[in-house]
């Protein structure tokens, strides 16, 4: 037994020693542009050459060949907007809320439904073209105009109708796998505008430089979203509220059937040069922590939103003002907000799952309410130190029931029209199906977003001393973790230096005495 331990230790030591000599044999895979192959030309399909006057008709044409897609798609969160978590109904179609536009009131706020994957929210068919057409079309407007001009019947109108139908035809027949633009048309604009929500997702990623994102960069890997979010049966992998983006930590090297959603899927758990100290970090530190030094590097992202300041009028009218980055910093209908660029993330333990509140959860209004926060801790082997955008909000809550409130925003009864909190909250909570006492105030809140896009080229990863440093360490708050360079005991260092300088003083004294006693002699 003892022998075995000794041999193990010795071979480890010797192996480590020898491998220092070895040069790096593992070159990063070259990421070239990948031309996806397609076996069909949609412009040749007869069923697509008909005249379309509604979205549902288009989808029916799609389904005549792709027979199972709608039943598959109806089960995904892209359609349901609901993620079950135990008793909780999370999601925009459920009871979730945030500290941006707060809630979609169970999809009753029509303003939010623009991003739903149907032609008309959950009524009717799936809008296949939203994700699969390579042409961007404002469908509602186009169909409305087409029907109008067709009905008019005069020559000029006929010509216009034909032109519109031509645009429809182009969009219907130019079909492919979703591009960054397709996914981005919703995900880059989360929270109601470009870069509002995520910080690591905005329209700058439509045609990014590799310095913005080494994988998606058009001069880098030119990855589309689904290169990593590669789904099966229209289920797109990715974190969904409390649900982790991945099932296990294995890489494609170990199992080629797993999803490619994590960094480790392709890069493995030891992605650095053999024997590099960085490989020893991957048990505690997520790749993102070092490889995304900051986010919102091209477009600014919203960092705070104070709803309590909304409702001010100028000359009896709602107004808005602009601040840094030419971004609105006050709107009567929304309140006060701050935008930032090149934001340093905040770091937390994260096991891939988030805890988020719903309209039904009781809060403690004396604290800053964490509407969404990462799950994880130092003792959890699945947890890593992970970068986050923390969005600070001030939002309404029920003084009596101690729950966060979901106002109705758009529409004629919405707050954006009426600037009447009482009414908007009542309408919103009615839609949400949650009681409202009628008494409300505002509470400070935070909303955490994991930062996982905008990965920089490896040369731009964080230097060791961003964290391993005594002052201003990015991980200053991780006190329970021992980190060389950051941590030391004042008493030990003091004692140590006393010893060292004491030794110096001693030899100096001894030497001086020797020198003079020698002279005297």
């Amino acid at each position: 037994m003892k022998n075995k331990t000794f041999i193990m230790l010795f071979s480890t030591v010797l192996g480590a020693w020898l491998s220092v000599w070895q040069s790096d044999l593992c070159h990063a895979a070259q990421m070239g542009n990948e031309k996806r192959q397609t076996t069909t030309d949609h412009s040749k399909h007869k069923v697509l050459q008909q005249e379309f006057s509604t979205g549902d008709d288009i989808t029916k044409a799609c389904l005549s060949c792709h027979t199972e897609t709608d039943s598959q798609f109806h089960k995904t969160i892209h359609w349901t907007w609901i993620a079950e978590e135990g008793e909780k109904q999370l999601g925009k179609g459920g009871d979730s809320l945030n500290n941006y536009c707060i809630s979609s009131n169970k999809m009753n706020d029509k303003g939010c439904s623009k991003c739903h994957t149907g032609w008309n929210a959950k009524e009717g068919e799936v809008n296949c073209l939203l994700c699969h057409s390579q042409k961007e079309v404002n469908w509602d407007e186009t169909f409305e105009d087409f029907r109008f001009f067709k009905e008019e019947g005069d020559d000029e109108s006929k010509a216009l109708a034909a032109e519109l139908q031509g645009n429809i035809h182009k969009a219907v027949t130019d079909i492919g796998l979703p591009t960054r633009k397709n996914c981005g048309s919703c995900h880059f604009f989360g929270g109601g505008g470009d870069g509002v929500k995520h910080g690591d997702l905005d329209s700058s990623l439509t045609h990014p430089d590799k310095m913005l994102d080494v994988h998606m960069g058009t001069n880098g890997g030119n990855f589309t979203c689904f290169r990593c979010h590669s789904g099966k049966l229209h289920n797109i992998p990715g974190r969904i509220y409390s649900q982790k983006a991945y099932e296990d930590r294995r890489s494609l090297v170990e199992d080629d059937t797993i999803s490619k959603i994590t960094c480790e899927s392709c890069h493995t758990a030891t992605p650095h040069k053999e024997n590099a100290k960085m490989n020893d970090h991957t048990d505690k530190v997520a790749c993102q922590a070092c490889h995304i030094p900051d986010f919102a590097r091209v477009n600014p992202t919203k960092m705070s939103w104070d709803w309590s300041k909304s409702g001010r009028l100028k000359d009896g009218k709602p107004y808005k003002t602009k601040g840094p980055y030419d971004k609105e910093n006050y709107l009567s209908i929304k309140g006060e907000m701050k935008w930032e660029k090149n934001v340093k993330p905040e770091y937390f333990w994260f096991n891939g799952s988030m805890s988020s509140l719903t309209t039904k959860d009781v809060i403690d209004p004396s604290t800053t309410v964490a509407v969404s926060q990462p799950n994880g801790n130092i003792n959890d082997p699945d947890s890593r130190i992970f970068p986050f955008k923390i969005h600070h909000g001030v939002q309404p809550y029920d003084l009596e029931y101690k729950t966060l409130l979901a106002p109705l925003l758009s529409g004629k009864d919405g707050y954006w029209t009426t600037l009447d909190w009482q009414n908007a909250l009542q309408k919103g909570m009615d839609f949400s199906g949650v009681p409202f006492s009628g008494k409300f105030d505002f509470v400070k809140s935070t909303f955490a977003y994991p930062t996982t896009h905008m990965v920089m080229p490896k040369a731009n990863a964080l230097a060791c001393t961003e964290c391993h440093v005594r002052t201003n360490s990015r991980l200053a708050s991780f006190g329970e973790l021992y980190m060389p360079g950051r941590d030391y005991y004042k008493e030990i260092d003091f004692g140590g230096w006393i010893l060292v300088f004491g030794a110096f003083a001693g030899i100096l004294l001894h030497g001086t005495l020797r020198f003079f006693s020698g002279k005297r002699k």
Partner: protein, 204 residues
């Protein structure tokens, strides 16, 4: 062993022993300089480089230390480190008092007793205590990621690092005094010359 003498000198240190001494001096100097940088005391090479150099040097030292131990036991030189209290007080008195009065060192060196009793005790504690502790905590520190597989829970990372820092201060203090003591020979440089050439002149 046959004692080589020449011009009032003794051939005390064999070629390997001299090489080992200076090689170890080099390694320990590098370890202290890079170690203190990793500890956060200053910035010199840059953290990443300091870590790399420190690890490489540490493992080199460990391997060469095993060779030294092998040499110690195969040559019987380990006997030089057997502690003794005989004449120890005389040596202490010599360094504290008599040295200022120009009195000779009470212990004469010979090929079978290169070290005075004070040296024996201090070298023995360095070789058998400080350095092994430092190597042990260093190896633990280096292999931190294997702890879980090994089931190592004897020391936490914090305790390991703490011990490593404490012992490094002790070693640094030892070196300061050790270097000074080499100037207490026949002439200030005679001991150092002895460790370079192998030949050491004793005071007459």
């Amino acid at each position: 062993m046959e004692q080589k003498t020449h011009m009032n000198g003794l051939y005390l240190y064999s070629r390997y022993e001299r090489f080992w001494h200076w090689f170890q001096m080099l390694l320990i100097s590098i370890l202290i300089v890079t170690g203190l940088e990793i500890h956060g005391s200053y910035s010199l090479l840059g953290f990443e480089k300091a870590v790399h150099v420190h690890n490489f040097t540490g493992i080199t030292w460990l391997v060469s230390f095993f060779i030294f131990i092998f040499w110690l036991f195969t040559t019987g030189e380990w006997k030089q480190y057997i502690p003794t209290t005989k004449k120890i007080m005389a040596v202490v008195k010599y360094y504290l008092v008599d040295i200022f009065r120009g009195k000779p060192n009470p212990v004469k060196k010979s090929i079978d007793a290169k070290h005075n009793p004070l040296q024996r005790i201090s070298y023995l504690s360095v070789i058998s205590l400080l350095l092994p502790i430092q190597m042990f905590t260093g190896i633990l520190y280096y292999t931190y990621n294997e702890w879980q597989i090994w089931g190592q829970n004897f020391l936490t990372l914090r305790q390991t690092a703490l011990l490593h820092v404490i012992v490094s201060f002790l070693i640094l203090s030892f070196i300061i005094i050790h270097v000074y003591m080499t100037t207490t020979g026949h002439t200030p440089l005679s001991y150092i010359k002895g460790m370079i050439t192998g030949w050491e002149k004793e005071k007459l």
